[in-house]
Structure formats: structure tokens, C-alpha cells
């Protein structure tokens, strides 16, 4: 009874928020509902017959969720999802409010929720998922998240409550994630990446590596192969903990470029197969897949093609950068912000690998911390090349217009923005705000 009232009120708030353009109406209703009834999420879900898929990890949540959602929809399943970025308890509660009927029930087949790293323990206290995907843990915003070891420890203790009704989908190549599968009652499936074209072993400095140490005994790990950062074929020389045998390490079709998206694809395929989809059905759905906003999304602006590669932390930046180098990028625009969703500390730009940036023709820079990025490039390129190639503009619209102007009709502008910078850039490029 209480919950029907809360969903009713929530829907009204949500409507009026969007009607009067009060900004982020997507988390308010959930926030209020949880304040009045902390058990709100648990109670709504226990009434509904819905399969729940939770997706967590530093990088790849939105893309993996989109891949799964797209495939399920094409196979006539009904889905609810939280908005990307609304991935705390209040965002999930709000999603439940907007989809529940008068009796406080949700009549859909699947709920796919992206979950913030720090919110996993709270969420698992409320939700018993059918599938829990743990993609990876990279360094991201030390000022907000703290050390990745701490996150992994918190995850580990909250996973103890899961039973065999939950299937964990874990990254075998990430030692911290793989190790979470030990001694649990939940079912475990592992994904990996068997891309023989990549071997960073001989060039390990090419990495923003963060957890090359054994999650069990603390010894430095040996790698037979490194795919990127600390992901690869790992083995502890002391306690013999090693990469578990994967249930999937390749697939017939990849909808997005970049090896990081192979991991996302494998995680999605593994989840979809558990739900009875065949490889053929999955591949068909991938062929019509449109990337989520800012994740390799293509936008046409003033008749020129732009592709946006969200680059929100060292690993995500390195992967975006590697991918656009492979795509023979000539003109790039890097936008560095330091707002709360980006992380206020921008020191990480000194950890990224910019090798090969000297081969770009035009490098445009913008964002709240444009001069910090300019300094990073001055030291990378040297003064002469810096002056030749780098153009700094703290006004984003102007930076975008200038960089687009230099393109010929065949060229693409590649934008590498932090999170809030991606939202700003998208607003300029499409004229719409997303969140």
C-alpha cells in the first residue's frame, strides 16, 4: 500500500520535474521513496516476476548493458534499465517507480541495472540478482572511490550472501575480479579475451597498470600475456593462483572497435547464452547495434563526421587512444574537465600513454582544465611540435567549430572527452541534453 503511494507520488515528481525542466528528475523520486521506505527496492522487486541483471565495473557498464538489452529486445523480451549515470540506489529506485503499475508491480521480463562500484554492497542487500556481471576494476577517481583493493574487498564480502540462484559473470583476465569467484555459493562463469594480435608483454610500460599483485598473497604476478593494463594471462609464482579457465574468449562478430569492447562483448554473450539465445541470434542483434551515447557514437555536425570516445580514466583513455590510432585518426579534440562526475583530480593525465601522438596532424584541446592538458602535451611532444600541432581553446563550442573546420569531407574528428565533457560536447553537437 505504502509502495503504491510512493510510486504514485514518484511518478508525479518525475513528470513535473521534466515538465518544468527542473533538471535531473531521474533520481529524485527514488531518493524520496527510499527515505520514507528504505526497503522500497526489495519490496517492489519481490512482488514482480522479473529477471535481474546487474552490471558493475570501472569501465564498460553502459556498453555491456546496451549490448544485452539490444539483443533481448530483438528477441521480443521487455526490458527496464536505469539511465547511465543514475547508478546509485536512488537511480535504481527511480527506475522501478517509473515502470511499476498502480499495484506497485513491474510487468517486464528483464531489469538491467548499471551499478556504481561503491554501491554494490548496498544494492546486494536489497536485490538478489539472477546475473551479476563484474567487468573490471581500474584506477578511477582516487578522490571519490579510493583504492581498487578496497572496492574488491567490499565486493568480496557482499558476494557471500548470494546463493546458487545467482550466476556471477566474471572477468578471468582481471586478477582482482577473477579472485572474487573463490568459495562462493553462487554459480560462476568466466569470460576472457583470446586476441592473439595483442601482446603487450614486451612493452609493459605501455600501461596504466594498477593491480599486478596477487589478490590472494600479495606477490607480484607473472603474465604470460598482457592484453592491456593488468588484464591478461596471469599467474602467481608464490601461491599458484592463476587465471581461471574461461567459458568464452572469442566471438564471431564484434559490433564495436577496440579490444576493451571485446571484453564487453564476451560478457554480454555469456549472459545472453545463459538466457537461451543462440550465437546466431546474438550475432544478428549485434549487427544492428547502435553504440550508447559517447561510446564510439557517430554524430554528423556541419556536414562533417565526428566520433566520440568517452575517455574517463587512464585505462579508458589509453584504450580510446589506441583504438583511434588503429583507425588512422588525423585530427583529435581532447576535452578535460574536473567536475564531480569526472573526478576533481586530473593527475591521471600523466599516467596515460601518448606514444604516437606526434603522428597526428591537428590536436585540439578544451575543457575546464585545458591548460593542464596543454602542459601534458608540451612535455610529451616537446616545444617545437607542441607549437606546430596543438591548439588550445577554453571555449568548447569554438574548439569544436575550429577543429571541424580543418576536416576535409573524408576525415573524421575524434573527440576524447571526460564524462561531463562528453555531455557538454554532445549538447553542442546534437542540440540536446541527455541527463
Amino acid at each position: 500500500m505504502l509502495n503504491s503511494l510512493l510510486t504514485g507520488i514518484g511518478k508525479i515528481i518525475s513528470k513535473s520535474a521534466s515538465l518544468f525542466n527542473l533538471g535531473n528528475g531521474s533520481t529524485w523520486p527514488g531518493h524520496i521513496a527510499l527515505n520514507i521506505n528504505p526497503q522500497f527496492i526489495k519490496q517492489i522487486l519481490s512482488k514482480s516476476d522479473i529477471k535481474i541483471i546487474l552490471v558493475a565495473g570501472t569501465n564498460g557498464k553502459t556498453t555491456t548493458s546496451s549490448l544485452i538489452s539490444n539483443a533481448l529486445k530483438q528477441n521480443r523480451k521487455t526490458i527496464i534499465r536505469n539511465k547511465s549515470g543514475a547508478n546509485l540506489l536512488n537511480g535504481i529506485a527511480s527506475t522501478l517507480i517509473s515502470y511499476s503499475d498502480g499495484a506497485g508491480k513491474i510487468k517486464k521480463d528483464f531489469a538491467i541495472f548499471e551499478v556504481d562500484e561503491n554501491t554494490i554492497p548496498q544494492i546486494l542487500a536489497q536485490i538478489t540478482p539472477d546475473y551479476l556481471l563484474l567487468l573490471n576494476l581500474f584506477r578511477d577517481q582516487l578522490d571519490r572511490y579510493g583504492e581498487i583493493n578496497t572496492i574488491a574487498e567490499n565486493w568480496k564480502s557482499s558476494l557471500q550472501r548470494l546463493t546458487s540462484s545467482t550466476t556471477l559473470i566474471l572477468n578471468a583476465d582481471d586478477p582482482l575480479i577473477a579472485n572474487l569467484g573463490q568459495k562462493l555459493k553462487a554459480k560462476i562463469k568466466y569470460f576472457s579475451c583470446n586476441d592473439l594480435s595483442i601482446d603487450n608483454y614486451k612493452n609493459p610500460t605501455n600501461q596504466a597498470s594498477d593491480s599486478g599483485y596477487c589478490p590472494n598473497c600479495g606477490e607480484k604476478l607473472n603474465y604470460k600475456r598482457i592484453i592491456f593494463s593488468h588484464l591478461g594471462d596471469w599467474l602467481c609464482p608464490k601461491c599458484n593462483l592463476k587465471k581461471p579457465k574461461p567459458d568464452i574468449d572469442n566471438f564471431s562478430f564484434y559490433p564495436l572497435s577496440g579490444v576493451y569492447n571485446k571484453y564487453n562483448t564476451h560478457a554480454a554473450v555469456l549472459t545472453l547464452k545463459q538466457n537461451g539465445l543462440t550465437d546466431k541470434k546474438i550475432e544478428e542483434s549485434f549487427k544492428t547495434f547502435k553504440p550508447a551515447f559517447g561510446r564510439q557514437e557517430e554524430i554528423f555536425y556541419k556536414g562533417k563526421k565526428i566520433q566520440v570516445f568517452l575517455s574517463k580514466n587512464p585505462t579508458s583513455f589509453n584504450q580510446s587512444f589506441q583504438t583511434i590510432k588503429d583507425m588512422k585518426a588525423v585530427t583529435i579534440l581532447i576535452i578535460l574537465n574536473d567536475r564531480i562526475p569526472d573526478g576533481r583530480d586530473i593527475s591521471w593525465i600523466w599516467d596515460v600513454d601518448l606514444k604516437g601522438i606526434e603522428n597526428f596532424k591537428n590536436i585540439y584541446l578544451s575543457g575546464d582544465r585545458v591548460y593542464d592538458m596543454a602542459l601534458r602535451l608540451k612535455y610529451e611532444l616537446g616545444i617545437k611540435d607542441y607549437e606546430l600541432k596543438v591548439k588550445v581553446n577554453d571555449e568548447l563550442k569554438k574548439a569544436i567549430d575550429d577543429s571541424v573546420q580543418t576536416l576535409n569531407n573524408k576525415e573524421t574528428l575524434f573527440i576524447l572527452p571526460t564524462y561531463s565533457a562528453m555531455l557538454d560536447a554532445r549538447k553542442i553537437l546534437t542540440g540536446k541534453k541527455i541527463l
Binding site: D143, S347, W350, D351, G382
Partner: protein, 267 residues
């Protein structure tokens, strides 16, 4: 007046202490800044990483010492290695070889550090200071910071070399440091927390060794500190005052101003 000798054909050896264990965010940026600012002036640079396998002999030739931040878990491991080379490190510092210890590193060069969990770590005692982490529940000191560098202490004898500049950077630390009676602060906090969030002191200086809670690539925005370290290293190595070629710091100043403006400080 004799013209001061140029920096051609000179070489500096930068010793980087335990880069694998002492690296949080962007610490390597400091090494890059030092390296490039030397190279742009024709000074050759060799960087040696001091790690678990290094012998005391390896430390002897170091002209400039650097250590980045370590997380609490790594602090207790690092101190064991540092203690092995304690005598040699102390000799370098006493010989006025310049050093920069950032973020959590200075805690290990003070008298002791009490982490939030685990045992008290006895430091090398080079700086007269003590550091205590008040526990995981107490809030960390995080944010942009602007401080007024105590240049008089860094260049006590040479009026000409004195420069006025504010330091701008980022801090993120749980530990609180209190300076002892003989310690000299590195800078005065204008905005931010500094050593303990209370007494406005930031960092510590002993001879030419600087300890600071500024973390990550602090030298990138504060080239005067980088140039101080380089100039001192050359002076100690070649026993003569060497004038560094001036480099253009316009971008650095703009990057600092962006933060200072936000914090309501005019540079």
C-alpha cells in the same frame, strides 16, 4: 663579472625511489618534467630506479632524489627497503643533494607515521615531524591547494635567485603531519589543507630536501620547484653556481591561474 658557465655537456643522475611501490596518481609526471627541463637546456639525464634489487652502491652517484606517494598498505613494505639504505640516503641529504618527496612519501622521512590500521611505522627521521592518520572514519583532506612557497629557506644565501611564486596543485591525504620545533615548513597554505588542515603549514624543508603533501605531477604546474631542484643538483655536483637557461612558463602560469581564480586567489 665572469659569465656563469653553461650547462652543456653536464649530466645529472636522478634516483627514483621504489617507483612500483610508491606511485599513486601521475607521480611519474614529475620525472618527465625534470627530464625534459634538463634536456631542453642541453643537460644530459640518467634516471635510475631504486627498487628491491638495488644495492647501496647504486645510491652513491645520485644527484637528485625523488619519491612519489605510497598507499598505506605499501608504506610498511617500502620503509623496510628504505631502512636498508638509510645511511646512504642520509649522507645524500646531508651533502645537500636536492630531493623531492611528495604525497605520502614525506611521512616515511619524518620521525614516525601512524597509519589508520596497523602498527606505527618508524621513519628515517630526516624531517623533524610526526604524522598520524586519525582513522578511516575521519575525513580525508582532498582538493585543490594553493600555497605560498617559503623561497627564503630554499635560497638562503643567494638574493638573486629568490623568486616569488605560488604553488598550485592537488592534495589527497588521510594522514595529518605536525612539524617539530626544528622543522621548517616548505610553504604557507593560502587555500586548502596542507600538513594538518589547521596550522597553515605545508610540507617541510631540510637542507635541499623538500617534503610536500601536494600529490601527483606537482612539478608540471610549478616549474620553479623543478628548476630549483635542477639548479641545486648541478651546484652540488659541479661545485659552482650555474645559471639555468630560462624557459617559457606561460602555459604553467595559465594552468595555475585557472585554479587560483576558482579559489578566489589572485596570482
Amino acid at each position: 663579472m665572469n659569465k656563469k658557465p653553461s650547462t652543456k655537456n653536464q649530466e645529472l643522475i636522478i634516483g627514483w625511489l621504489y617507483p612500483e611501490l610508491m606511485s599513486t596518481y601521475g607521480d611519474s609526471g614529475n620525472i618527465m618534467v625534470l627530464l625534459k627541463r634538463c634536456q631542453w637546456r642541453g643537460i644530459n639525464v640518467k634516471i635510475i630506479n631504486i627498487d628491491q634489487k638495488s644495492k647501496t652502491q647504486d645510491l652513491k652517484s645520485i644527484d637528485l632524489l625523488f619519491a612519489g606517494g605510497a598507499q598505506d598498505k605499501e608504506q610498511s613494505i617500502v620503509i623496510k627497503y628504505l631502512k636498508k639504505h638509510e645511511t646512504e640516503i642520509r649522507k645524500l641529504i646531508e651533502r645537500e643533494v636536492p630531493a623531492l618527496f611528495v604525497c605520502g612519501a614525506p611521512q616515511l622521512f619524518g620521525k614516525y607515521y601512524e597509519p589508520s590500521v596497523g602498527k606505527r611505522i618508524e621513519g628515517l627521521g630526516i624531517f623533524d615531524m610526526t604524522s598520524i592518520h586519525p582513522g578511516p572514519k575521519k575525513e580525508r583532506l582532498i582538493g585543490n591547494i594553493v600555497a605560498d612557497v617559503n623561497w627564503q629557506n630554499l635560497y638562503p644565501k643567494n638574493q638573486e635567485l629568490r623568486t616569488k611564486s605560488y604553488m598550485v596543485g592537488f592534495e589527497n591525504h588521510g594522514g595529518r603531519t605536525c612539524l617539530g620545533p626544528t622543522a621548517v615548513p616548505f610553504a604557507k597554505v593560502l587555500k586548502g589543507y596542507g600538513n594538518n588542515g589547521e596550522d597553515k603549514t605545508e610540507g617541510v624543508v631540510y637542507k635541499n630536501a623538500i617534503g610536500t603533501y601536494f600529490h601527483g605531477p606537482l612539478l608540471s604546474k610549478n616549474p620553479e620547484i623543478a628548476d630549483f631542484l635542477i639548479a641545486k643538483a648541478l651546484f652540488i655536483k659541479y661545485s659552482k653556481e650555474i645559471e639555468l637557461k630560462k624557459l617559457d612558463n606561460t602555459l604553467e602560469q595559465k594552468a595555475r591561474q585557472m585554479i587560483a581564480r576558482r579559489l578566489g586567489i589572485k596570482l
